[in-house]
Each structure stands twice: as structure tokens, then as C-alpha cells.
């Protein structure tokens, strides 16, 4: 992947569509599938990921000249882990219920390949400001995939949206939509739609 001269807002923009981390690079799938059965949880997860991404890209970028190359991976992981611990403590204090429901997936932001991919692939070689923009872009790109999927899965599966009843109660709930397999199908369909749109645009 070309991570060379992209600077400033171009770094942010390309992450939203052309190089969207989930659709284009198939990264960060674990949480994309696991938390998308409830819109509320998805939103919290997205905000957590954006925070981690921006802060760790910034920190790694600041330290990029002092990190020895041989141990850079483990240092990056430790920086990311520190911010994830911060998120976990904040969630436990202010949103204990969501923190409980998300369970291990908050901790798993550490091994979310998007974060590692951005710190290793971009922040290690670029200035702090560009890295922050790149991090914001990747985080929003991730949210742009997760939120629509959650917005489809929750209403169809539970008849609710953000915890509120939106579909009449006599609607037969599609239990399928909130359990594991539909996560795979929903994401596959989303990838299909986006790629079809992309190739349609290229043909024109």
C-alpha cells in the first residue's frame, strides 16, 4: 500500500472511501462483526476506536525517531494498550452496563489490526499532525462501516433502534440478525454493495 507522500487532509479523506480500512483492506473485522447487533454498543466501540487510533498515532509519531526498529512492534502495542486501559476505566466509571456488554471487545481494540496498521504503516514515518488526521480518517472509515450494519441488524433482529422500539411489537423478530452468522452475511453484503458501487464508478 502506498503510504508515502499523502499528507494533511488527503490522508484523512482517502481512509473514508478509497482505502477504507474495513472494506478495502479487510482489517478490524473481529469487532466489526461482534458488536454490531446493537447500535448503542457500536457507537461506543467506534468512539473508543477513534480515540485509541488518534492518540496512539499521535504518540507513536512523536516518538518515531527514538523507537529502536527492532522492538518497535512491542512498543506500539504497549502504547495502544495504555490508551485502551484508559478507555476501559472511563467506560467502567461512566457506562458500566455497556462496558459489561462489550466485555472483552474493549480490550481487543489492542489487537485491532486497524490501529497497528496505522501506527506501523503511517505514524512511524510521518509528522504528528498528519498522523492525527490519518487516525481520524481511519476511525471514521471504520465507523462508516459498522454503524450502517448495526442500524440494519438491530431493528430487524430486535425491533429496536438505540434501545427504542421502532418497529411495531407484533413484527416477527428475525432472531437470525442478532446472532453470529448474520454478522458475517451483513458484512459480506456491505462489502459487495461498496465494491459494486466502486467498480460502477470506475467503468464510467
Amino acid at each position: 500500500m502506498n503510504t508515502g507522500p499523502v499528507k494533511g487532509f488527503a490522508a484523512l479523506k482517502r481512509m473514508l472511501w478509497e482505502e477504507n480500512p474495513v472494506i478495502g483492506q479487510i482489517l478490524g473485522i473481529c469487532s466489526a462483526l461482534a458488536v454490531t447487533n446493537l447500535v448503542k454498543n457500536t457507537l461506543v466501540m467506534c468512539l473508543g476506536l477513534i480515540f485509541t487510533l488518534v492518540m496512539s498515532c499521535f504518540t507513536v509519531s512523536l516518538m518515531r525517531n527514538v523507537i529502536p526498529r527492532r522492538v518497535r512492534m512491542i512498543i506500539q502495542v504497549l502504547i495502544i494498550a495504555a490508551y485502551v486501559i484508559f478507555i476501559k476505566i472511563v467506560l467502567d466509571a461512566f457506562l458500566p452496563e455497556i462496558s459489561n456488554e462489550l466485555g472483552p471487545y474493549v480490550g481487543l481494540i489492542i489487537t485491532n489490526c486497524i490501529v497497528m496498521g496505522r501506527t506501523e504503516g503511517y505514524a512511524m514515518a510521518n509528522k504528528p499532525v498528519d498522523s492525527i488526521l490519518d487516525g481520524i480518517g481511519a476511525g471514521i472509515g471504520y465507523s462508516l462501516v459498522l454503524l450502517p450494519i448495526a442500524m440494519i441488524r438491530e431493528p430487524l433482529g430486535l425491533g429496536t433502534f438505540f434501545g427504542m422500539q421502532v418497529i411495531p411489537a407484533d413484527w416477527t423478530k428475525w432472531n437470525m440478525m442478532v446472532i453470529a452468522p448474520s454478522g458475517f452475511f451483513a458484512l459480506a453484503t456491505y462489502i459487495w454493495i461498496v465494491r459494486a458501487l466502486k467498480s460502477g464508478r470506475e467503468k464510467r
Partner: protein
């Protein structure tokens, strides 16, 4: 039934089937989708995951219950687990390189991938959340690894056949169709849910 009284064998069996770490918890998806194109490397990575998760699960159990809990440092669990896993993988890599060139060639290239495999870290986090005992954590580590390896081997086999025999819509090629197949495998695994039911 209290989770502490469940026989480790049941935990092992549940971790492979009903609580399959990949198909129900979606962990380790990245390497799952990237590597499953090829059956041979899938088996290699699967073996490496089984090996690492079987050993890191009990080590992480000891670190959490004997080190972090007595000193009330539970909030450091993420860093502790990631360091344990990274250190274990590094040590194993060096040992294997010394002891057996054959094994190193088979597993060696997959080991670095494993440090950032969320299945291994997820394993450690689940055994804290579900409050497993020491023996149960060994069984869970072994079961989770086996379940993961089973799923990747199944997907790799199906993908290899599909490449030869069938046409896929161009937009769905690669990751898209892999996700659909995984979804169908996951549906099949729901059939196991009548056998064991634990969390």
C-alpha cells in the same frame, strides 16, 4: 450450574463447538481471512495457534490470579496479557529455531503473526471474565485453539475447491465470499448448541 464445578473436558468441548472463538466470538478474523486461501499454511497457522493458546491461557491465568489480583492491579491486565503473549511467542520462536529446523520452517513464519492475533488475547480475556479455574483455563486454551484451527482448515478446504470449480460474482471475490462461507459454517455450528450450554 456454577462455572467452577464444570468439568474441564466440557469446557474444552464447548470451546470447540458452541463457544467457538472464531465462529461465535469473531476473534482472529484478520489472519483467518488472509491465510485461508491456502490449505497448507492454514494448517500451519492453526497448529501454531493451538500451541500458543494452550500455553498462554494458563500462564495468563497465573499472572492474573497470582500476581495482579493480590496487588489489586487488575486494570493492568491488558498490558500484562499482551506482554506475556509477546514474550512467550518470542521465546518459543528462539527455542524452536535452536531445537528443530523442520518445526521452525513449519511454524516459525506464523509465530510473529500470532502476537497480534486477537484469538489469543481474547482467550486470556474470556478466562478472566468467565472466572475459569486453572485446570479449566488449560482446557479452554486448548479448546479455543482447536476450534480456531478447525474453522480455518474447513474454510481453506472450501475455498481451494471453489477456486477450481465455481464462478463467484467479481465484487464478492476474496474476502466477501469467504465471509459468506464462514457465515454458513457458523450456522452449521449453531446446531451444536443443544449439546453443551455453558457460558
Amino acid at each position: 450450574m456454577d462455572i467452577q464445578n464444570v468439568h474441564p473436558f466440557i469446557i474444552f468441548f464447548a470451546a470447540i463447538t458452541t463457544n467457538n472463538i472464531l465462529l461465535t466470538n469473531f476473534l482472529g478474523m484478520c489472519s483467518f481471512l488472509a491465510v485461508s486461501k491456502d490449505l497448507k499454511s492454514s494448517l500451519g497457522l492453526g497448529a501454531a495457534v493451538i500451541f500458543v493458546s494452550t500455553f498462554t491461557a494458563p500462564i495468563n491465568w497465573l499472572v492474573y490470579h497470582k500476581l495482579l489480583v493480590p496487588y489489586e492491579l487488575e486494570y493492568l491486565q491488558y498490558i500484562a496479557f499482551i506482554v506475556v503473549i509477546a514474550a512467550f511467542v518470542q521465546i518459543i520462536e528462539m527455542v524452536i529455531e535452536r531445537v528443530s529446523t523442520l518445526l521452525y520452517l513449519a511454524l516459525g513464519i506464523f509465530l510473529p503473526l500470532i502476537t497480534v492475533n486477537c484469538a489469543i488475547l481474547g482467550c486470556a480475556l474470556f478466562l478472566v471474565i468467565r472466572q475459569y479455574t486453572f485446570m479449566q483455563s488449560i482446557a479452554y486454551g486448548l479448546g479455543a485453539g482447536t476450534g480456531w484451527a478447525l474453522a480455518i482448515a474447513a474454510l481453506a478446504g472450501i475455498r481451494a475447491r471453489m477456486e477450481k470449480k465455481s464462478k463467484v460474482i467479481p465484487e464478492l471475490e476474496g474476502a466477501g465470499i469467504a465471509l459468506v462461507i464462514t457465515g454458513i459454517i457458523a450456522m452449521a455450528f449453531i446446531g451444536f448448541s443443544g449439546i453443551v450450554r455453558i457460558n
